[in-house]
Symmetry: none
Subunit: 226 residues, 4 copies
Amino acid sequence: MHQNSVAGGHGRNGNGKRPPGRPRSEHARLAILRSTLKLLQENGFSEFTIEEVAERAAVGKATVYRWWPNKGALIADAFANSATPNLHFPDTGWIDKDMSQQMRQLVRVFSGPQGRIVSAILGAGQSDPELIEAFRERFLKPRRREAYTTLRRAIVRGELRRDVDPDLLLDSLYGPIYMRFLIRHDRLTPEFVDRLCALVLAGARPRHKSGSRARRARPRPPKPRH
Amino acid sequence: MHQNSVAGGHGRNGNGKRPPGRPRSEHARLAILRSTLKLLQENGFSEFTIEEVAERAAVGKATVYRWWPNKGALIADAFANSATPNLHFPDTGWIDKDMSQQMRQLVRVFSGPQGRIVSAILGAGQSDPELIEAFRERFLKPRRREAYTTLRRAIVRGELRRDVDPDLLLDSLYGPIYMRFLIRHDRLTPEFVDRLCALVLAGARPRHKSGSRARRARPRPPKPRH
Amino acid sequence: MHQNSVAGGHGRNGNGKRPPGRPRSEHARLAILRSTLKLLQENGFSEFTIEEVAERAAVGKATVYRWWPNKGALIADAFANSATPNLHFPDTGWIDKDMSQQMRQLVRVFSGPQGRIVSAILGAGQSDPELIEAFRERFLKPRRREAYTTLRRAIVRGELRRDVDPDLLLDSLYGPIYMRFLIRHDRLTPEFVDRLCALVLAGARPRHKSGSRARRARPRPPKPRH
Amino acid sequence: MHQNSVAGGHGRNGNGKRPPGRPRSEHARLAILRSTLKLLQENGFSEFTIEEVAERAAVGKATVYRWWPNKGALIADAFANSATPNLHFPDTGWIDKDMSQQMRQLVRVFSGPQGRIVSAILGAGQSDPELIEAFRERFLKPRRREAYTTLRRAIVRGELRRDVDPDLLLDSLYGPIYMRFLIRHDRLTPEFVDRLCALVLAGARPRHKSGSRARRARPRPPKPRH
DNA sequence: CAATAATCGAGACGGTACGTCACGTCTTCTT
DNA sequence: AAGAAGACGTGACGTACCGTCTCGATTATTG
């Protein structure tokens, strides 16, 4: 089977022993990943060619195929190992602010050169399950985990209903962004993000009971932004 | 330029006069569009081949290229001319019901064989603007127009705020469906649709003023479902 | 079967009656033959296309195919109907002069724009028996017939042996010209023609018996050149 | 530029060093050349297809195009590398015999399956200068060189005039053969060859001076036939 | 230090689909 | 019935990448 370059297709193996033979060239690996990303954001997926990746990386085609079984795996790996943009959640003390700030960052990334790559991955992923899985595991889930924490804080603060379904809520917040990003039927602006947050979070707030204002119960000071 | 087969690449033109020469074969056109859809839903986009489309349609490759400049245009046209699924909006008298019924239908379509085609279009569309535009114009927009009407009725009935942004609201309702459909990180069930509706529409309801229940003001009987 | 345009695919038939329907367009026929020759001498055979013949003649492709079954027949017909160059034999009274003058003319034709056409016909004829036959019947044989007469005169005059094989002699005279024309290994000059004539005719002269000089017996004055 | 497979498109280059990369497959090269000849002699040029050459040779089409830029180059190369038929000149001591024996062999080759190939080359060569040049360089010239030697011997023996133009003489001998071969207006028989030889060589013999019979001066014994 | 072994670059290999072109036939309306 | 126009099915063209392979050269560990 093909070695995943992250799991250690090179260097010492579990035994602490290096296998015989010439070790894998780290330089080649990086050059390949770099040219993969560059090519992807220049040309999109439809003109993405392993032949050109190899040429730009000044690497033999076989070296690419030795370590990545197909385009999808290569792109997924390149994307996963790319400098993941700063998409962490702040802790402002208000769920609206926490969410909208992070979502604005996401929109900014989607609008920049990295967006081209994400769009290529999601596009090509429609006919390559591995690719879309890589996106979920390496991009979506890590952020989801952070988001869960953020939501939990808001529940504790009483900003959200205790019985809110976090996945439903997060899909409701991010789904519209992905939809506009992929279908491009409308603009992806910070204002859109704010109004989206306001709309969706409004539906997730506790039923107001007289005398118990949710916002008042703020148990602890916010952490500084990450 | 290539004639769009919908805009009348065949038959009489505006002058009521037929152009000279052998007229375009309607039979070939239909066979091509049919085999395009079939092939797409069998094999997905990555193995979609004009060569095989032509062969299955018992048509020369050149005939395909004569009328569609590339894969994207062909797929877009085939999709547009396909028996568009019954995705109309009911008029039950309640916005929650109207929306969730239509959205359940959409989910059902996405889960069926047609879903494969939609996914192929949105996927390939990420590197083919024409294709994604075709999806917007021929699939999304017609449904949006119906949706506006449905929303307007709800506003009139007092179920939704007068100042609600219909595009924001619709993206909030449909975005999560598209997201789950494309990223496949979670299941697309009718229950999900219902809870999604409930969550989002809750945020779009008028602020409750004491003594004026919105629901009471129901001015007219609902039309039977379409 | 296809009508040969020479044998009267148009006009009155044997009965003196015109067939019903629109008569064949003489204008189209000529335009086709003209553009055939022109195209052939511009581009050679390998890029000769019926499609372009029809276009240049402002004629439907089907009109070409209606009257000529294939490229070969068209080219052969065009060549046959072309203004055949003046390649007649003079009657100077001396066989050497008669032959070399005619052969010089032939070389001149081969070197000019018509040569391109002849070369195309002989070239394409190698894989199209009809074409090479057309060349024989319409070009070679008529000239051969004239040549026989010329040779006979020379025999009568005593310039050639009585038992000379005319076909052998003529092939010996013309073969080298065709060879240089087709293989292009050496130049086709008037001097070459003269020396060729001298060499070959020398071998066909009667054995000199002392006292009987062939040249002396000149029975009649030469006809003026044709 | 395309490497000529003869000049060394494979194997070590002048430096004694092999170029980097996988070396050219000798097996593929030979298979291609073989199927080229076979196809040519089966179908003639007009149905000669690179697609079928590749298929019969069990080779990718691209491999053919990698080494030969077009049909002409491929055919020329295949012809040149083909087992050149035994067409050497004997040394019988008499020029008539030397020539007629070799010319009979040539006629035999032209009449056999190889003739089909020669005719295809000369035919296609009319619209492909490279092809006709290949014929000249690889077929005609080598034989011409041998012929010069044969003629020189005859001159030394006094069978031919000292001032005879060898090219003129050889064209006069071979031209008629090529003409009958290409135009097919008459049969190519051994008898024709003999009478042709007799006719042409008669014109190249020295002027008979009384008392000095050319034939008598035979300086050396003939070499056995090659 | 030599032998062994896996990697590297380069690039040729057998394939497949591409998009184009001309073939020879057909179907329409016009003359 | 023949004309121009032009679409039709067919099949070869020459190109681009696919993923595999075979080279010599390189770079490590092992004996």
